[in-house]
């Protein structure tokens, strides 16, 4: 076995996904990357909000209150999402999709109902045997958390294949594994050049999405505070480090929601760290930017 380096990139998860593996010979590395890309594509197919054949698509077409059987992976992501929603009293809430459809940020799904604006994460029930039940009419978007989960699964596959150093990057949802420290860089508005932001060993890094420009040309935040359903502060930007990418991605939404007390508590509970960038003030540790 040699210490060869293999890098591959493919379009998937609505972004360009990069895999980098070291410590495997070319044949094994190529095979491991194929397996990892295949798993990522499967997770996309299962958890896409856009595809009517996904587990979410089937859930949105079922009758309210009927348990729908989903893939074990979808069930696991639901479990993580509801756990983080509960821990943050709904600042992270995967049921904000109806608001995002209304804002034009998600397409209207094929669904048998009009969502109840008062429906929240607690109306999504995991009823065992991989079945999910919606207690009220609502739409679920697993969005970034599914992307983070796909990154985690890809890393697990590459570790199991025997790679010694790994980096998986799905458009900013990043996880590195291996003994060596890796530098993660951020690109800034001010120029094309990237600046080193942090060094990590065996960790996941996620960042919040930037603002988008609405029909009126004004910038607004993509993310909503899951509890209030109002857009978060568009001048803030968050980077979170956690041991798993699924957690790092969800916590970016929690911190963007702006309730510092809840954010600090969640960071501690999930053993994560964050930096917040506030326009005009620069980088701040979470808690200082309230």
């Amino acid at each position: 076995m040699s210490g060869e380096l293999l890098r591959r990139m493919r379009p998937s998860l609505g972004t360009l996904v990069e895999l980098r593996v070291e410590g495997l010979d070319a044949v094994r590395a190529t095979r491991a990357c194929e397996q990892a890309f295949a798993e990522i594509a499967t997770i996309h197919r299962l958890m896409s909000f856009h595809e009517s054949g996904s587990d979410l698509g089937r859930l949105h077409r079922a009758r309210v209150g009927t348990p729908v059987r989903v893939d074990a992976r979808t069930y696991e992501v639901f479990d993580r999402a509801l756990c983080i929603a509960a821990a943050t009293q709904g600042r992270f809430d995967p049921t904000v999709a109806a608001r995002q459809v209304a804002r034009g940020l998600l397409p209207r799904p094929a669904s048998s109902w009009t969502p109840d604006p008062a429906a929240r994460w607690r109306h999504v029930e995991l009823v065992g045997r991989r079945k999910v039940r919606l207690a009220r009419p609502l739409w679920v978007d697993l969005g970034g958390i599914a992307k983070g989960y796909a990154v985690d699964r890809a890393v697990e596959i590459l570790v199991a294949a025997g790679a010694t150093q790994i980096c998986v990057n799905a458009g900013g949802d990043i996880r590195v594994a291996g003994a060596r420290s890796e530098t993660v860089e951020l690109r800034t508005h001010t120029g094309i050049a990237a600046m080193p932001a942090l060094e990590v060993i065996d960790a996941a890094v996620a960042t919040s999405a930037g603002p988008f420009h609405g029909a009126d040309g004004r910038a607004a935040a993509v993310h909503l505070n899951g509890r209030t359903r109002h857009p978060v502060d568009a001048r803030r930007f968050v980077t979170v480090v956690a041991s798993r990418c699924v957690v790092a991605d969800a916590l970016t939404k929690v911190i963007m929601a702006g309730d510092s007390h809840v954010a600090l508590q969640a960071l501690e509970q999930f053993d994560a760290q964050a930096r917040v960038h506030v326009f005009g003030q620069g980088w701040l540790p979470e808690g200082a930017a309230a």
Partner: protein, 176 residues
């Protein structure tokens, strides 16, 4: 998990995206081998203005390349290589199509920051992307993603659609 933050508190810069990098993932030869391991030869086909027209026009400077993969005189499929600009990156990608016209794989070959000239080139290319209503409709249908495609992914997806039109018009069933 170990973390060392390199961001000094108070530094003012508005980050918009993660990880700028430049990388070559595969050479054209590696992409050919990966897509068609049984091929004995790859024959370059020159795509002239007539072959490119069905994709929505052949603007000056657009020069995708196509190779036919063969084994003992039998066609195994085609590998097409083109470039798109993502946001500010120049992305070279390859689409492999089997002998029945089904897409076997889409691989990024090269990804790097674009220079001024290339970004200007991208300006007109984006005009020509999805120019007609029919094209736009098709793209919306075909772009499937979890939470909104990034510009880079969208442009690659559009590029793949464009190459498939070229394939259908000029390469499909071609004997030579």
């Amino acid at each position: 998990m170990k973390v060392r933050w390199l961001l000094p508190f108070g530094i003012v810069a508005t980050p918009i995206a993660h990880v700028a990098f430049a990388a070559q993932y595969m050479t054209v030869e590696q992409a050919q081998r990966a897509a068609f391991p049984d091929a004995s030869e790859f024959v370059l086909r020159v795509l002239d203005a007539t072959s490119l027209a069905p994709s929505g026009g052949a603007p000056q400077g657009w020069a995708p390349k196509a190779w036919q993969a063969r084994a003992g005189g039998r066609e195994l499929g085609w590998l097409m290589v083109d470039q798109v600009i993502g946001k500010t990156e120049l992305i070279t990608y390859a689409v492999a199509v089997d002998a029945h016209g089904a897409v076997k794989s889409v691989e990024i070959l090269d990804y790097r920051e674009a220079h001024g000239g290339e970004v200007r080139l991208a300006g007109w290319r984006q005009q020509f992307v999805g120019k007609t209503g029919a094209d736009l409709l098709e793209l919306n249908k075909d772009i499937k993603n979890i939470s909104g495609a990034t510009l880079s992914c969208r442009h690659v997806t559009e590029g793949v659609q464009r190459l498939l039109k070229v394939y259908n018009a000029a390469l499909r069933g071609a004997a030579e």
